[in-house]
Amino acid sequence: MSKKPLQFTLNGANKAVFVEDGQNLLDVLRREVGDFAPKYGCGQGTCGSCTVLIDGKPHLSCLTLAERSEGASIETASGLADGPDLHPLQDAFMEHFAAQCGYCTSGMLMAAKALLDHTPTPTREEVVEAIAGNVCRCTGYEPIINAILDAAARGRRFSA
């Protein structure tokens, strides 16, 4: 079986792997690189648990052909924290009980990060729209929405 070389940065670090034709980015991140933060939930673009940022924008890694990520900058939840310091979103998710089983959390965090990177002071409606493609089956969405709004407020405090 022929494999294709693929290089990209993952959370700022250079990665070089060989990928199969047809292999999706989620599979490459998890099985070839070993970043288990993005999850498989549906493989069909319904659940959002595989959400990663590609060049700063949210994408579903399970529907992304891996070889299309050549040269891309990919971010996952594994890279959110700065060393021991959690990202404001992570702090806020912890405090607001915005995760129960935790399976959707990685994707939810990345969808939220994409929003806050672009829109630091979102309205509630903008938050709702930002996570509209991410399914949570445990906590209900209210704590998640509240956490994202709170993280935005923390971000403002940090930058002030």
Binding site: Q44, S78, A81, R137
Partner: protein
């Protein structure tokens, strides 16, 4: 947000609480927000193989032949597994607690009975190859008529679904086509009532839809063990199930789990572990068997469909005087946990209300649907929906406020419940009061002043005269159910055990002998079993026949016992826990009253029951 109402039942509780009422961070939260939590699939193994299964495209079909040759030839296919490769192919989940017959194959043998039923497993180097191999397996099916509706399934001449319970219903306590409960005389209640209201309620199947589909990875470990990372919600239940199906000692299996990406009851059926472990044994390699989303939705078990017929008699003043319930639970093609759900359901009937005349019949029905399983309060949720809808209609019928109507009929501490247990620690009155207050729903002062602690007991603790009936008695499991060509495969130890026998915790309490000889029902009202659990109330009865002297005779058991669910490791129902059958000295045969023994026993099977029961003491 969270509000602890310590004013309610303040003198019944120790309030020196260290944690409750204070915010406490979950210990797994940091892992969740950093993406470091490891679910079953977040484990890397060198050389891991992937298992996928060929699934039935039909509701019901005979398997004429299976041709795996094309799949076998695909490069990268390591192994193909069929029913004959599985040491103990036929299983029922609750056999671990000796409840029900083995009725479900891990891989289909002669027939498929629901869309999505596993037929053949393939193990390959990659998931892509495994999927291609699945597509390459040819199964020749003879499509058979199917039945998808519980009431249709019980009609004469209906398609027979289950290989063991051929009449499309589970057999309760070896002798009944339904789970019965009789309390008082509903017909008299209806005759006395000012209004009678009857309605049908139904609930469709509900998929848990966890974001993580179920699955596991089985890998060779040191010391000739196999380590299994699994999404199961019931680790030891799955361990026991896998050990049984694979006929191997459970200490050869090292199950790691408890980190579940959403379960809600849907991940207790142990559907992936046996095949993955078998594939691991056969190939010597780590094997991953994970459901994809389609499989999770189609073949993953749902909360089963239910149909409830409720008929209530109510007086003009709002008193409910009779309640009759006839319910059908759709188990799908195989039993799984539906039999248990019905025990739970019956233990909950007639809802949290004190009603002097109750008659309930709950059927566990087989259809060609995906087998149903546990889901958040299963057995109770659907019937509660129905009962509370009915309560609203009844309140309207008698012109009462819906909440006042509930408070009026709510059980109080000391009341006798229909399954002959005294109501304790009831709180419905207070719940209604707080809910009304929170909702800004005005209720009259007299209802605001009522309490669960007052007004119960006394007459309300009495067990009414209850007449015998013969409804639902069948000739017995082996005679009526097993087709001649399909001998029941369960060994004696796996024979159907009644719910009561399996919930018994050790050590077995001393239970005085009770008669097994059939006696006519007596019309006197005796203070009952549940209220005086230490001794039978009637001493003039002959001693137990033979066999197991320290064991209550059990043919067929009373609701008080029947209501005690087997303590399986899923959704335990704390309220049910105290209901050990051994604390109930006078087993109530259905329809019996007081400690008298009715003549309902279809056969003198006491000895057999007793010895089997004795055999279950190990738990």
């Amino acid at each position: 947000m969270l509000e602890l109402r310590k004013d309610i039942f303040a003198d019944e509780r120790d309030d020196n609480l260290n944690e409750i009422g204070k915010p406490t961070q979950r210990q797994d939260m940091l892992g969740h927000v950093t993406g470091r939590t490891r679910y079953y699939d977040d484990h890397a193994f060198e050389g891991m193989l992937h298992l996928k299964v060929v699934r039935s495209p039909h509701h019901h079909a005979r398997i004429r032949s299976i041709d795996t040759s094309a799949a076998d030839r695909l490069p990268g296919v390591r192994r193909i597994i069929q029913a004959a490769d599985i040491p103990v192919n036929l299983n029922t989940l609750l056999s671990l607690i000796e409840f029900g017959e083995d009725d479900e194959p891990t891989l289909a043998e002669d027939k498929v009975r629901y869309i999505g039923e596993p037929v053949v497993a393939v193990v390959a180097d990659t998931e892509v190859i495994a999927m291609a191999a699945v597509a390459a397996v040819r199964v020749d099916y003879e499509v058979l008529p199917h039945v998808l509706d519980v009431e249709e399934a019980l009609k004469p001449g209906a398609v027979s679904v289950n290989p063991v319970y051929t009449k499309n219903h589970f057999v309760f306590h070896d002798s009944y086509d339904r789970q019965k409960m009789r309390f008082g005389d509903v017909e008299a209640g209806f005759a006395q009532a000012d209004h009678v209201l009857e309605a049908r309620y139904q609930m469709s199947p509900i998929e848990h839809a966890p974001v993580e589909p179920m699955g596991c990875i089985a890998a060779p470990e040191t010391n000739d063990r196999i380590v299994v990372h699994t999404s199961t919600q019931a680790l030891f239940f799955s361990l026991g199930t896998a050990a049984k199906i694979l006929d191997m000692p459970s200490n050869r299996l090292h199950f790691i789990g408890g980190t579940v990406g959403g379960g809600f009851g849907g991940k207790v059926d142990s559907l992936t572990e046996p095949l993955a472990i078998l594939a691991c044994k056969l190939t010597g390699k780590p094997v991953r068997y994970g459901f994809n989303r389609q499989e999770e939705m189609q073949a993953g078990p749902p909360r089963g469909a239910e149909v409830h017929y409720i008929k209530d008699g109510v007086m003009n003043d709002g008193r409910i005087v009779a309640r009759q319930i006839r319910s059908y639970f759709d188990a799908g093609a195989y039993t799984r946990l539906s039999s248990y759900a019905i025990i739970k359901c019956t233990g909950h009937l007639p809802g949290p209300y004190t009603i002097p005349n109750v008659k309930t019949d709950v059927f566990c029905v087989y259809t060609n649907r995906t087998p149903a399983t546990a889901m958040r309060g299963f057995g109770v949720t659907g019937v509660d929906f129905s009962l509370e809808c009915h309560m609203d209609k009844m309140a309207q019928l008698v012109g009462m406020d819906a909440i006042e109507f509930r408070i009026f009929n709510a059980y109080r501490d000391g009341d006798m419940k229909a399954h002959r247990r005294e109501a304790k620690n009831t709180a419905l009155v207070e719940c209604c009061q707080v809910a009304a207050q929170k909702a800004g729903w005005p209720i009259r002062d007299e209802f605001q002043q009522m309490s669960s602690l007052h007004g119960g007991g006394g007459e309300r603790a009495a067990i009414p005269y209850t007449r015998m009936d013969q409804e639902g008695i069948i000739a017995g499991m082996s005679a009526a159910q097993a087709p001649p060509s399909t001998p029941i495969q369960a060994p004696a130890t796996m024979a159907p055990a009644i719910a009561a026998t399996v919930a018994a915790p050790p050590p077995a309490p001393v239970v005085p002998p009770v008669p097994t000889v059939a006696q006519p029902p007596v019309a006197t009202q005796l203070p009952l079993a549940a209220t005086a659990p230490q001794a039978p109330q009637s001493s003039q009865q002959p001693p137990v026949v033979a066999g197991a002297p320290a064991v209550p005779p059990l043919s067929p058991p009373a609701m008080g016992q029947q209501a005690a669910p087997p303590s399986i490791p899923t959704s335990p129902s704390p309220s049910m826990q105290p209901a050990s059958p051994y604390t109930s000295p006078a087993p109530q045969t259905e329809g019996s009253e007081g400690s008298s023994r009715p003549s309902a026993s279809p056969r003198p099977g006491t000895v057999r029951h007793g010895s089997r029961l004795a055999g279950t003491r190990r738990r």
